[in-house]
Amino acid sequence: MGLQVENLTIYYQTLSGDVRALENATFSLEGGEIMGLAGESGCGKTTLGHSLIFLAPPMKYVGGRVLLDGEELPIQDMEKMNEFRFRDISIIPQYAMNALNPIRKIGRMTEELLQAKKVDFKAVLPELKRRLDLVKLPHDVLDLYPIELSGGMKQRMVMVVSTLLDPSLLIADEITSALDVASQKAVAEMLVEFRDQDCCKSAIVITHDISILYQIADSIMIMYAGQVAEKASTRTIIHSPRHPYTKLLISSLPEIGVKYSERQLTGIPGKPPLLLDPPPGCRFRDRCPIAFDKCLEVPPFVEIEKGHFVACWKEAGNA
């Protein structure tokens, strides 16, 4: 049960060559797990999230496989994936504010979408209304056009629509980033509530802001420049991270639970490499304080303790 991702590699095809945005990602999610996916902007979080559900050009499948509840997802087949989208795997996209058709009333759009998926709207309506209550939206939003809603309302509306068919996996991409601090907390809590009420089984919560994950994520996965760096329970990532990048990231946060801004992340000297032509080996090498010869090869992602995975040559020996 849950999600298994094995060696997933996704590039962007561009005129100047392949942008190697996701390289050999391997990880898994238990059923019911909320995993935070964090890392600097541009490290490939959205790429990973999107590739699981909507692998559209210029994104290009290079390799790897994805299993959801034991069944392989045909992620590279745009047509075949339709069967899984929405029902088994769903998304609250990064662009949630613009995700609703501007010239359809929200209720009508939802109805047309469900009809197209051969779901009876009337039968779902009571549940839809219950979930509107859950995210504190009045029922008459269904009679409004998206433009009549505030940004936060639109986002919660998208959250309700995406999870209407109780997907096994929900991908929530930067759902808090555009909101003020108070609404961030509220939306994060609503997401947990959704999981607790089985509106989705497990979720990947993508953010460049780790602090929001402290309250809601069971586990956290850290990415750096298209590579997965570390994955462990939230406690472990915060209190005893092992990857040098995670350590720097966590120590650059003011205090647990306090919001940090993106700027502090750049407190780590140097910049991430360009993914168009990344250096071989560990992509963190240029900025890593403890890098050594071995780091010219790509470090394996190994389980050093139960449920704690690290991709670093310094840690590989400790497994």
């Binding site: 999107h50 559209a56 994936m81 769903s90 433009i147 309302m153």
Partner: protein, 332 residues
């Protein structure tokens, strides 16, 4: 809602007032003298004092001997009474009658060509947006069509079908040998004469609409809401339907603009094909310095433009919720 319409109507009235004033000014500040023009054309009398008498008589008849401000006021007065004056060039036919005779030809030529090209162009554009093969054939063709100067296309059509092949007449609205009557023969002749000017307008319009629609749809298919639907596995049909209904909005505005410049656009057609609509009339009026007829033609154009815009304003409120929101000034 009420305030919105109040404001709109005020703007339309102001525009009307200004446009009509300019309409009144233009012929009067054109060089030349319409009465003298008419007299030299019709009169064989060379007696100077007789000519002067006739000149005074006609100037008085047309009200051209009054000071300008009086002419202006009486112009508005008669306008409100539905009087457009008497044509100098087709003396003594009232301008109103001259216009009423020409308008059916314009409507018959322009309304079908604009609406059909709009409909067909949008259909084809939407079609081209989803088929590589069609896109590779129709789009370049459409670009050529819209890039062709209209005059050139009109003359080319007239030359090829009218002169080389000789299958279509290239002048008039019906055969010169006929009098208007309700016979199949006459109706056939009307359609026969109508076809080439219609086709030339249709082709140019079609190309423009098709390109506009194709580009808009491709743009909308890349919009966030389209991607979201795709990510939720919505069938292509629904995604395309949404993209289409968003893409068609700017096309509606475009249609308004087209309907607005209906007469200006037709001017060239009517001249090339000697088609007796308002455009053709306007050219004759200008050549003959017929103040009242020029005014009448422009008045017709002004009313047409404003009316078309007003109708589209209303239509837009019905189809685009975003305008409705701006109208009531609500904030979310």
């Amino acid at each position: 809602m009420k305030r919105y319409f109040g404001r709109k109507i005020l703007i339309y009235l102001l525009t009307f007032f200004l446009a009509v004033t300019i309409d009144w000014m233009i012929p009067r500040f054109m060089p030349g003298d319409p009465v003298r023009n008419m007299l030299t054309r019709v009169s064989v009398n060379t007696n100077a004092s007789a000519i002067q008498m006739m000149y005074d008589y006609y100037s008085h008849l047309f009200g051209l001997d009054m000071p300008l401000w009086q002419q202006y006021l009486s112009f508005w007065k008669s306008l409100f009474m539905g009087e457009l004056g008497i044509s100098v060039y087709l003396f003594p036919t009232p301008v109103k009658d001259v216009l009423l005779r020409a308008i059916p030809y314009d409507a018959f030529l322009l309304v079908p060509s604009i609406l059909l090209s709009w409909y067909a162009g949008n259909k084809f554009g939407a079609f081209a947006a989803r088929s590589k093969w069609l896109d590779n054939t129709i789009s370049p063709l459409s670009y050529i069509l819209t890039a062709t100067p209209y005059m050139w296309l009109g003359i080319l059509l007239a030359w090829f079908f009218g002169i080389v092949l000789g299958i279509f007449p290239i002048a008039g609205a019906y055969s010169f040998t006929m009098r208007p009557n309700l016979s199949w023969n006459f109706i056939g002749s009307v359609f026969h004469h109508w076809f080439l000017p219609f086709a030339s307008l249709f082709l140019v319009g079609f190309g423009g609409w098709a390109i506009g629609m194709r580009n808009m749809i491709i743009y909308e298919l890349e919009a966030d809401y389209s991607h979201f639907l795709g990510a939720l596995g919505a069938p292509k049909k629904l995604v395309r339907k949404y993209a289409f209904s968003n893409a068609v909005l700017p096309q509606i505005t475009g249609l308004a603009l087209q309907l607005g410049v209906i007469v200006a656009g037709a001017l060239v057609t009517e001249v090339v094909f000697s088609y007796p609509g308002i455009g053709y009339l306007l050219l004759a009026a200008i050549q003959n310095q017929d103040y009242f007829l020029i005014q009448g033609c422009f008045l017709f154009i002004i009313i047409g433009v404003l009316l078309a815009n007003f109708i589209i304003d209303i239509a837009y409120i019905l189809v685009d919720p975003r305008t409705r929101r701006g109208m009531t000034g609500e904030t979310a």
